[in-house]
Each structure stands twice: as C-alpha cells, then as structure tokens.
C-alpha cells in the first residue's frame, strides 16, 4: 500500500510538470506509443482558422457535421478534428520559432504544418482562390498570402 501511494505521489509530480514537445519529426510520429493521457488539461481558447474566398468575408473552418448517429460513428467529424489539430500543430511549431519572423518567412511557410493548413483552407474554399489566417485568443496570429485556385 505504501509503495502504491509513493508511486502515485511521484506520478502526480511528473504529471504536474510542464509538458515538452518532441523535436524530431521522426520520433514525434511514434508518440502514440507513449500516451500522455492529459486530456483538456489546458482550458484555453483554441486557435481558429479563418478562410476568405476573394471578395467575401472571413469564415471560420467548420466543425464536423452532427446527426443522430455521430455519437457512434463520425468519419467527417473526426476528419474535421484532424484539420483543427493540424492548425493547432502549426501554431505550436511557429511558437518555437523567432517571434519577430514575418508571416511569409521561409522558416514558417516551409513547415509541413503550414502546407497542411494551406491545403485545408483550399479545400474549405472549394478550390477557389482564397486566403487564410489563424486567430488565437481573439488576435490575428498568422496570415497567408492569396492562394491561387
């Protein structure tokens, strides 16, 4: 019993320490083997991707559809969550870079996550010319240039 309590206390201390990101993209792909189990621990506003088709207003990236069966089977809902996860990943990767970099710096536009977000925006715009921006906590965080059709 004492050993279990000591183990639990050590676990609590480890959990309460701040998390670290895995730098290597190859190793990051294996993170599923070491689950963190820290669901919703950061209760803070999520980054929002807004897409603008030429001449129209900024529109937030839609969430997945809801229906009577989506509690049990939600392929499009989970794809939408994967899109939002890609946006959050881009924000996390840009946060690791020099804060003074302009939005179109190659260090940013060359990121895989940047290309993913561009493709997500392009899909959301139905393949039409568009631009995207990411808003964090109500403020503009990162914006793209116009994307051709």
């Amino acid at each position: 019993m004492t050993a279990a309590l000591v183990a639990a206390a050590i676990l609590v201390l480890v959990v309460l320490r701040s998390r670290r990101t895995v730098a290597s993209p190859v190793l990051a792909r294996l993170r599923v083997l070491l689950p963190a189990w820290r669901f919703f621990d950061r209760a803070e506003p999520a980054p929002v991707l807004l897409v603008r088709i030429a001449g129209a207003a900024w529109t937030p990236l839609a969430a997945g559809p809801r229906g009577l069966t989506t509690w049990a089977f939600a392929p499009r809902g989970n794809l939408a969550l994967a899109y939002h996860a890609a946006v959050a990943q881009l924000v996390a990767e840009v946060d690791e870079l020099d804060a003074e970099l302009p939005d179109d710096a190659p260090a940013i536009t060359g990121l895989v996550a940047y290309e993913l977000v561009t493709r997500i925006a392009h899909e959301a715009a139905g393949g039409q010319p568009c631009a995207w921006k990411i808003v964090v906590d109500g403020g503009d965080y990162l914006a793209s240039r116009e994307i051709a059709a």
Binding site: L16, V32, F39, F40, P45, A46, R66, F73, R76
Partner: protein, 254 residues
C-alpha cells in the same frame, strides 16, 4: 470473470473499436488520396532527414494505395479478431493502428489512437501466451488514463473554478450545438468537481469490486456524454474495450 472471458471480451470490444477506426478512414479516403489534404507527398517531407531505406518503406506504405491497403487490412483484422485466436491477427491489427498513427504525423484522432493501440497490444500479448500480462497492461493504462487526466486538470485554475467546461463547449473544433452548449453552461460547478473526483479517484477501482463497477459505469456514461457533446465517438469504443481487463484484475486482487 475468468481469464478466458476477459480476453474474449477484450477481443470483441477491441474488434469493434478497430472496425470503427478502419471504416471511418475508408469513408474519408479522399483526405489521404493524391489530391487530399493529408496526401503523402506533403507528409513525407517530415522524413527528409531520415535514412533512405526508411523513406522508401514509408513511401511504399503510406502513399494512397498503401494507406488504402492498411485501412482494408485493419478492417479485415477487426472482422477476424473475435473469431480467430491466432496471435498474428492481433499483432497485425497493432501494426495497422500504429501505421495509421505514424502516417498522420503521430496521431489521427489523438488519445483514442493511443488507447486503441493499448487494447490491441494487450490482446496480442494475451494471445501470445501471456494473458495475465496482457490484461495487466490494459488495466494499468486504463487506470492511468483517468488518473493522469484528472491530476493534470487539477493544475489548471479554470478547472478548479468550474469555468473550463462551459468554455470548452464553445470551442469551434467541436461544433457543439448551441442548445447543448447552453445546457452545459448551466451545469453547476459540482458537476465539474464530480468529474475531477471521478478521474482522480479512479485508482480506487483497483481495490474494491463494487467501487470498480460503479466507476466503470460512470466511465461509460462519461464517454457517452463526450461522444454526444464533443463528437468523440472513438474514445467511447476504445475505452470500453479496456474495461474487461480491469474487471478481471479486480476480481483477482480482491
């Protein structure tokens, strides 16, 4: 619950979770196609610094055809798991689940991918002649998943003051319907603290069978609520799949 019963139920529920994951991937196949958002031509850039043989294998596995093959193989494994007890089927299912996560930069559906892998590895170990070890692995990860999630939330002021849940239901990624979000926002703070108590207190399930049954019942309702409110369907199926392992170990320990 006997070892055989626990492994049988683990297999049935892991098969269900695997089938849901495979079918969902197949339905959204355009996303991993040559012109899809998650096309391999984009994702493979992560491996630019990897050894050439590794990149060649990844190109073979994770291109459009390879991903289709993995998803179909995963579905076939799901259909076979309840009926064929050969460990190769379970290890193949582990390989498919791991491959899907690796392809999508580490995870396609967050924690549900990790728990799917946990239950499939547990089943593969159990069917490889080590049933107690397999069930112990699933039970341990199940208890840790709730306990760590609860403790991590305790470190966040918004969880402690009860404002986290109403805020989470307004986040755009989840698309919670307005009426449902309003309903959650009206829940008393005690609901948040009840959830935190459930998660942090989950290890009690290891020492008392009645407490275990109550906590697993609460857990099932918790995941069902998350599936309805946040659309997290896969978390329901993958976490339920680990429950027989805990039930078995509680019977054995108490």
């Amino acid at each position: 619950m006997t070892v055989a019963d626990a492994v049988t139920w683990l297999a049935r529920l892991a098969a269900l979770a695997t089938a849901v994951a495979a079918l969902e991937m197949i339905v959204v196949h355009r996303a991993f196609g040559d012109d899809g958002v998650f096309r391999w031509a984009t994702l493979r850039r992560d491996l630019a610094g990897a050894p050439r043989p590794l990149r060649a294998v990844a190109d073979l596995l994770f291109g459009t055809r390879g991903t289709w093959a993995i998803a179909l193989l995963q579905l076939a494994c799901a259909l076979a798991l309840p009926w064929l007890e050969h460990p190769a089927i379970a290890w193949l299912a582990v390989g498919c689940a791991l491959a899907i996560s690796i392809r999508f930069r580490g995870s396609y559906n967050g924690g549900s991918d990790a728990m799917l892998l946990v239950v499939l590895i547990a089943l593969a170990i159990a069917r490889s002649g080590l049933p107690l070890a397999g069930l112990a692995y699933a039970a341990t990860q199940l208890v840790l998943s709730y306990f760590i999630a609860g403790v991590a939330k305790l470190g966040e002021p918004r969880w402690r003051d009860g404002t986290a849940l109403p805020m989470l239901v307004t986040l755009p990624p989840y698309g919670v319907p307005a009426r449902l979000a309003a309903l959650v926002a009206r829940l008393p703070r005690a609901v948040t603290w009840g959830m935190l108590a459930f998660e942090c207190g989950f290890p009690v399930a290891l020492v008392d069978r009645t407490a275990c049954l109550v906590l697993l019942g609460a857990g099932a309702l918790f995941h069902l609520a998350n599936a309805i409110i946040f659309g997290l369907d896969r978390f329901l199926w993958t976490w339920l799949a680990a429950y027989p392992a805990l039930l078995f170990w509680v019977d054995r320990l108490t």
